[in-house]
Amino acid sequence: MFDKEFILEIFTTIRKNKLRTFLTGFSVAWGIFMLIILLGSGKGLENGIKENFKGEAKNTIRVFGGLTSIAFEGQPNDRHIEFNNYDKKIITENIPNIDLLYARYDIELDIPVHYKSEYATLAVSGIDPSTKEIEKIKLLEGRYINDWDIEHSQKVAVIGKDAKKMLFRAKSPIGEIIYVNKVPFKIIGVFSDDYAPENKKIYMPLATAQKIFLGGNKISSIAMTLENITPDESKTIENSIKSKLAKRHNFSEKDERAVLIINSIEEFAKSQKLFRAINIFLWLIAIGTIIAGIVGISNIMLIVVKERTKEIGVRKAIGATPASIVKLILLEAVIITIIAGLIGLLAGSTVLEIANGFMEASNTAQAAASEFDENMTIFKNPSVDTMIALNALIVLILSGLLAGFIPAKRAAQIRPIAALREE
């Protein structure tokens, strides 16, 4: 029909009843404000928890060599399965969805390490650069081992924070030369890991370690993170890794011990479930608030319809059809809801944005103040993404329609003679 006329008509009414419109809109604005704050907080909580359990939040698969437990194709059991660079290549080339991957060679013995007159026996590992991301290693000083170091078998080392204390005490070790098994290495960085034993280790490029400690091309384990996959897909990938290795090392695919595969997907799925539960919970609260808003609008609109009984009667007498009355009330409810809701949306996002600014400031301050790990954030980057905003908008329009429905029906039922008779 003549929709533009209708909307103009409604805006005229709205403009001439500012207080009423304000009162009507306020409850919705408040509801949407709460929705945004709650959902934003939910997002913040999720981000915060993810930040704290980063390793678990992402799907990590770790593969270690084991001992065969089933005799297979003429091979006896109790055979050691050992990996080398070729296993890494096979996995890298054949497994889809890999985000990051590293291989490492952990030397089983403690190695004598000297720095000037200081001496310690330490564990040594040859690693790939992506250990840093996959294992969430924090760099306290200097830089980490990079691809160039690997390719050129550099004799550089990053040293765990505890090992650093033993050899250097409070002094900065960057650029110093240490002797690992009498081989000189230049220290390029100091790291810290949440898993304490790692802090007593010295990391060097994988190829360097293989050469110096006569490992040939041996590796102890391979770890990878997988991007955007479901638990089922992860399980499939896990199986295909196993079958690739079984073929190469000639063990039975049914052998549970030949290789050890640790898949974090179980933890991952659990935390995903938790976030979903939190989100559903927050939506429930938010929907509750919105329903309160709808009831509020609906009530005020009912009063409005009652107040306007006579006006509606007049409109009908001069030719308004019931449908056009329904449209008038419904559209008024929707327009008020949308405008009020957008104000609430804006206010909510602004508050989140401000809160975000404060939190970021305090987080960096905290991180600067505490030199070491444990910078626990329960809250990180609370924000409204476009999905939330879009959902909120849909909720808005629906709630406007819902809020207007009963009053509109009531209005459509008004009989002009009854409306005009009462003084």
Binding site: E9, K16, R315, I318, G319, A320, T321, L420
Partner: protein
């Protein structure tokens, strides 16, 4: 123009029925200026509401423009009212949040006419009732007589076949009442069919024909 034949109307009051119109026979032809007279409670408004398609009747027949009007649904009635009828009420019934011009333009809005056209048309009719200079005044800024003039303009703006006025002077003082009646009369002079309900003798004397109701029946018809 319109014809009532043995028209009956009951109001259902819980256990018993109130028989208000007990067989009205009546004809109003084009261009007539009729008043419906009768004491309070004699059924004048009831009859006018039926004629105005605001209410149903129980038996008999009502022809409007030679069309039998019977059990119309609300939408049909609304469209019919919009196209053929104009209403004037005792208490003016202007929409308080709208200015004079917007009030007059409202029937055209429901006809689907664009804003510019309907405002032009509304202005024309405000001029006709002598209130062009009050176009942007709200009802509360107008006197009773002025409000009734605006209401009259609103009743006329859609060029209806019949204007129905229920006690149009009931809320006005004597002088203003006469002014309004003169205005209505002048509109009738231009050919408009007009039906005025009143219980005041002097008002009915200003119309061309008086139909007197008594106890739900047409008691008397007087040509002035």
């Amino acid at each position: 123009m319109l014809r009532l034949e043995d028209l009956h109307k009951y109001y259902h009051m819980g256990s018993h029925d109130l028989h208000v119109l007990k067989g009205i026979d009546l004809e109003i032809t084009e261009g007539e200026f009729v008043s419906i007279m009768g004491s309070s409670g004699s059924g004048k408004s009831t009859m006018l509401n039926i004629v105005g398609l605001l209410d149903d009747y129980d038996s008999g027949a009502y022809y409007l423009d030679n069309k039998l009007i019977k059990k119309m649904n609300e939408k049909e009635a609304a469209i019919y009212r919009n196209n053929t009828l104009g209403f004037v009420f005792q208490s003016f019934n202007l929409i308080s949040s709208k200015d004079a011009l917007e009030n007059v333009a409202l029937p055209l809005f429901y006809r689907g006419m664009g804003r510019k056209n309907r405002n032009d048309k509304a202005m024309e009719y405000l001029e006709l009732v002598g209130l062009a200079d009050r176009a942007h005044h709200l009802p509360k800024e107008l006197s009773g007589g002025q409000q009734q003039r605006v209401a009259l303009a609103r009743a006329l703006v859609s060029d209806p076949k019949i204007v129905l006025a229920d006690e149009p002077t009931g809320a006005l003082d004597t002088n203003t009442s006469y002014e309004i009646m003169e205005l209505i009369s002048s509109i009738n002079e231009k050919g408009k069919t007009i039906v005025v309900v009143t219980h005041e003798d002097d008002i009915s004397k200003m119309t061309k024909k008086i139909i007197r109701l008594k106890d739900g029946l047409v008691d008397d018809i007087i040509i002035n």
